[in-house]
Symmetry: C3
Subunit: 347 residues, 3 copies
């Protein structure tokens, strides 16, 4: 998405703005706009490096660093003690990927092609894993919500770490599954990859620079969240669940929609669902582990987040079950997203 690159101008603007102590809402917007193209560059350079690294290691790199932006933003939010924003942004990423990204993809693609088809078998594995992962995430949360809390905080931490370890182990095993034991299942997917425009050297430099800049911008961004929410009367929760995921995933989202428009539904759906799965199985446990360096963050989501997660995953499984999509399915996904966003906004 070349057009996103013009947004790179917001890197100096946001940094100068921060230095000149502009109003926080402006800083919030500027740093958000700066993160969007950086996330895009990061994704692009990871893909090029993956190309040079060969199928297996490349796939692994892509799978692992595909959500690096979310991880970096969440890390700085966590360091600033904004645990609720972090957890809301995890849930929001999953919901946004399944409902908004997949919905827009199916809508945009479906307006051009009457019915779009995808490899139901591959998508099914991802959708099914999403169901398991969300159930795994929900079980301890529901248990802790029903037990009357406070006293048990230390126990929650233990439980969070156990769940995080299990999630991470399944993540590793799922890589073994898709790159080793059942790699032929994914074989039909290989799109004829032409040699990338960038050299390996250039892409490594881009990756390093983009990572550093995203780190800097994330810190600026996170610092502006609290004053901004106060200025506009938004809840931190709304920022976490709706705004952060859109900012962190904008580049990836536009790719998915573009792929759907080119009738490459397999790629579009894999971006949306695969990314959701990575967030639950990789980003979330890594954040739990990293939080042990400061103060332990629990893996217990609140009731809103859980309901939205469960519904999203049920919908993803419903969608995946027939291997077809059309514009009306897209409209319905987006509609559910709007209803969720409106509920979060109003409440």
């Amino acid at each position: 998405m070349k057009v996103l690159k013009y947004l790179l101008i917001f890197i100096p603007i946001s940094l100068i703005g921060e230095y000149m102590h502009l109003s926080e809402p402006l800083i919030f917007i500027f740093s958000a706009l700066a993160i969007i193209p950086l996330a895009g560059l990061m994704g692009e350079s990871t893909e090029v490096i993956s190309y040079y690294a060969g199928n297996r290691i490349g796939g692994f790199l892509n799978a692992t660093f595909g959500n690096a932006t979310e991880l970096i933003i969440a890390f700085f939010a966590m360091r600033a003690g904004l645990f609720d924003v972090v957890k809301a942004s995890i849930a929001g990423s999953v919901i946004g990927n399944i409902l908004l990204v997949l919905g827009l993809s199916m809508l945009v693609g479906g307006l051009k092609y009457k019915t779009q088809y995808f490899n139901q078998k591959v998508i099914d594995v991802t959708a099914s894993m999403l169901l398991f992962a969300v159930i795994g995430l929900t079980v301890p949360a529901i248990f802790t919500h029903t037990v009357n809390a406070k006293l048990l905080t230390t126990r929650y931490e233990g439980l969070s770490i156990i769940v995080a370890i299990i999630m991470f182990a399944i993540y590793i095993l799922s890589l073994v599954f898709s790159f080793y034991s059942h790699k032929d299942l994914y074989a039909t997917e290989t799109t004829e990859e032409s040699k990338p425009e960038w050299s390996l050297r250039k892409s490594i430099i881009v990756l390093v620079v983009a990572t550093i800049l995203i780190g800097i911008e994330s810190e600026v961004f996170v610092g502006s969240v609290e004053p901004m929410t106060k200025a506009f009367g938004l809840s931190e929760f709304f920022v976490g669940i709706i705004l952060v995921p859109i900012i962190g995933n904008a580049a990836e989202h536009s790719t998915a929609v573009l792929m759907a428009y080119k009738n490459k539904m397999n790629v579009a759906i894999e971006i949306a669902l695969g990314s959701s799965l990575q967030i639950i199985l990789f980003v979330t446990p890594v954040l739990i582990f990293l939080s042990l360096l400061f103060s332990p963050m629990s893996i217990i989501f609140n009731a809103f987040e859980l309901v939205a997660l469960i519904f999203s995953v049920l919908i993803a499984n419903r969608i995946a079950s027939d291997g077809e999509s059309n514009w009306l399915e897209g409209v319905q996904l987006v509609a559910v997203y709007i209803i969720i966003a409106a509920s979060f906004f109003i409440l």
Copy 2:
């Protein structure tokens, strides 16, 4: 169902009874028995008019006025301030259609035919839309149930109107989908329609007269709900969720079961699921909009209704997934309905 027409005798009986101030439970029963055949006549005349109007407009008419009886009863209940009865009857219609009507259809059909088949692709679209619609309806409700209430009533109204607008928009779009962009999907369904017995003129007269009479009987019926519940120790909630839907849908229900008995499972299932969908996407938002004329009704269902709705829709999706039915599936659907009804009755 010719036999239902003998019930027309209850029109004068109920009106005379009302005039003579008979005991309210009698009025309740008489007016209920009068509504049943009127709803049947309304459905029949709508179908005839649809036949003359041609495929597209006819389909639209049928889809839109198919649940006119529920709409009229609910309108008068709403005007009488019985919001709980109205919402219970919406939920009850959906539950009743999916569990009781579909269950009886599969049971009756399955006792005659070992396995009955239906067009899984078409039913799948409806079942999938039902899932989305119920999720859309559930999300704001769950959110408002967890936030502690009272203070936020005005906000609920805003949220209710937004959700109603989205539901209504999806309803319009679903008509575009089935009568315009993807109409071939439904093409295999066309049953050889023979010229109806009634003339267009006759059917219009019947429709107008039946609508007026249903209006009158609904007002009588609604007026008797409160005194009747007190006399028999029933909750208004039980009346709304079990009795009103059975009365409003009796004619339609008997058609569905008859179709199943004739091994026309596609028609039977479409009546049950399509009608449920219409109630959520068309009747409910229209009622929300109409309520603005008096005092705004919220779209927030209570926990009982939500649970019953979600389970019913999950079951509908499960049933639709294999394109087959047998008597045991029918028994199970009816059993779940009986358990729900017994729970509502006892609690």
Copy 3:
């Protein structure tokens, strides 16, 4: 599983231990270890008797007495007033069968065979019935949990008995379905049964002796639950939901895993899901009926149990939907089980 038979030595050990008033945790372990091989002998003798009884009656015997061990343990626990342990063990049996047994089967089988196939149509009937059964069990529970309790206890009993009668009726009808009206659906399943090693006479003697001994050991076992939980700081709930089902089902479980290892996935899955279904539709109502002899036990499960049951059944339906399994699915099932067990253990 011949190796289990060495555990028979724990019959005298546990009885002598009980007589000598050994510490209760030891009694708990000894009697548990004694029950495991007895349950195995009971299952084996039932199967031999079923063989001699012919297809139809044999199938009925197998279906009805397959969970006799659970029934006996639960009966003695119920007589001792440990209602919470009984209900937890019912839920735990279902969860354990679906997540642990099925998971281990898919994992062990999947490590040997890349993809394992099963008769999706047959498993679908069972999975679908499980969904209905759990929904039927959940509806009254959710209703009673939201209404504020205590006052309504007598009403709950009435509701419990109604639900139990409906469940039992569906159980009978499901036998009619599988052994009479739709028996051909299951016809492909007949494994070439070789003449059993035991004579009919021997197997009847084994069955009678094993039943008596299980009864005795169950009474010893149940008596040691309370002191043991106190000694180890475990909750009775944890014992009921995790330990009792493992003890009662160990023999059966090892058979399922063995079948998966031999690539007989149909048998393995039918053991896991069929057994779960029997527990809900047969064991549970029979326990409710039996409880009327002492003091009535309600069929109302607690929130933990319900959530775990619903998730397990959703997973079972997801698994059944494609007719295939692999080791990663197995890992995920076991992971969800571990998360549930860890949550129960910690909370």
